[in-house]
Symmetry: C2
Subunit: 224 residues, 2 copies
DNA sequence: GCAAAAGTGTTCGGCGTACACCCATGC
DNA sequence: GCATGGGTGTACGCCGAACACTTTTGC
């Protein structure tokens, strides 16, 4: 740390804060044609009964990213997915006595791989992002930030790899983009755009389903 | 905060960390045709004698942004400029006993407005970003992140307002962009690009200097 | 009139966007 | 043979990039 005063003793003398540090993970998926977010129903004060973004305090010896990975795994069982830091809020919980710092992250998961934590209290549940319940604290602001960052990310990275199985059809991929951008896209233009970016590569596999022409399968290229 | 366990007592029971939280501000300016960054020579352990990004612990009752604004003002005397959160690092100071969390910010300042803090110890100094001294801790990583974010920001926001006086010529603006992108730009294309974006507005003032045609003066439009 | 910097226009290629028909398969 | 979704091509407008000359001023 590049603080100019850093020992605990000096910090106390100068009236510095030692707030709690928590990590929050906004977990997105695309399911049934809609962008969904995982929320948890709070079973204790403060804000009991309200819904909130999953999160918790840092464990001892853990880095921020490790805490985010852990939290994501606790709620969904999923690891090794897109997970990126979003923003750090200094005032998400106005009641914390020494203040609280919330380091928010966002993650993208394939709904097929998720096994939600099965708890009676603090139960997690998917919500369509366009129909979320009232949220605890200032969590709505975090969701808004996350949604915008997600939209941007999909424009110039392969982040969508994390929302789909290893092999997928062009239509499945398009549906992911449509759900996130929130509007229909032209099939031909989408295909051209996607292939030009080298985000994905055609395999020579196909998938037959139903009485129509089989669809070519693609996979994501190296992650950018 | 949306932590599921949050009282200090519970946190301790679960072995959670209560690390120090510091704010670091990467302060950029463009001066003598080069992008420069403000660094501070550390006058005490750890990393005594090395250069570092200015920063310090949160004061009591202060938000993260207030701490960043304060730190910026302490070093440069400047307020009301572009200042944006960059990234939060959990491991910038490996020696901190309970860990340390560093919330980094970056700021853009007009060199004409800056009055550097005049201290004998922890003295601040401008460094060309392409010729910085060896930095304490992992500060070089922070600078690299900041530089990339700065380049991106200038593409789609009016952030450059904060690097220039209220009225400026098209050439002065172009020199700022050239310094940051690190390559010369075409005068005609730059002008067209800039005006199309409605980042700036022509005034009907001019500036005469030297034996040549006077330059039109521009001002920034509303900040985006 | 000349030195110095300010200011301007055109061409070309690529890309985003709009839009409609043929193809392969199962039944 | 027909219903179903898969897969493709073209035209147009905008924008980024490359590139050179005229204008205004001071001396």
């Amino acid at each position: 740390m590049t603080t100019e005063t850093r020992s605990g003793a000096v910090n106390q003398a100068l009236g510095t804060r030692r707030p709690t540090v928590a990590v929050l993970v906004v977990i997105f998926t695309v399911y049934e044609g809609a962008l969904q977010v995982l929320l948890i129903e709070r079973s204790a004060a403060p804000a009991e009964g309200q819904w909130a973004i999953p999160g918790g305090a840092l464990h001892h010896g853990e880095t921020l990213e490790q805490a985010a990975v852990r939290k994501l795994a606790e709620e969904t069982g999923v690891t090794d997915v897109f997970l990126e830091q979003l923003y750090t809020f200094g005032d998400l919980d106005p009641d914390a006595p020494d203040g609280s710092v919330g380091v928010t992250w966002f993650a993208l998961v394939d709904p097929e791989r998720v096994r939600l934590a099965d708890r009676s209290a603090w139960r997690p549940q998917w919500w369509r992002l366009d129909a979320t319940p009232p949220l605890a604290f200032d969590n709505q602001r975090v969701l808004d930030e996350a949604r915008q960052r997600l939209i941007n990310k999909l424009e110039y990275t392969t982040a969508a790899y994390s929302l789909l199985p290893p092999r997928f059809t062009m239509r499945e991929l398009q549906e992911v983009y449509e759900a996130i951008r929130g509007r229909p896209l032209d099939k031909r233009n989408f295909r051209r755009w996607m292939l030009k970016r080298d985000f994905i590569t055609a395999t020579n596999e196909q998938r037959k389903e139903g009485r129509h022409r089989p669809a070519g399968l693609y996979r994501f290229a190296e992650r950018s």
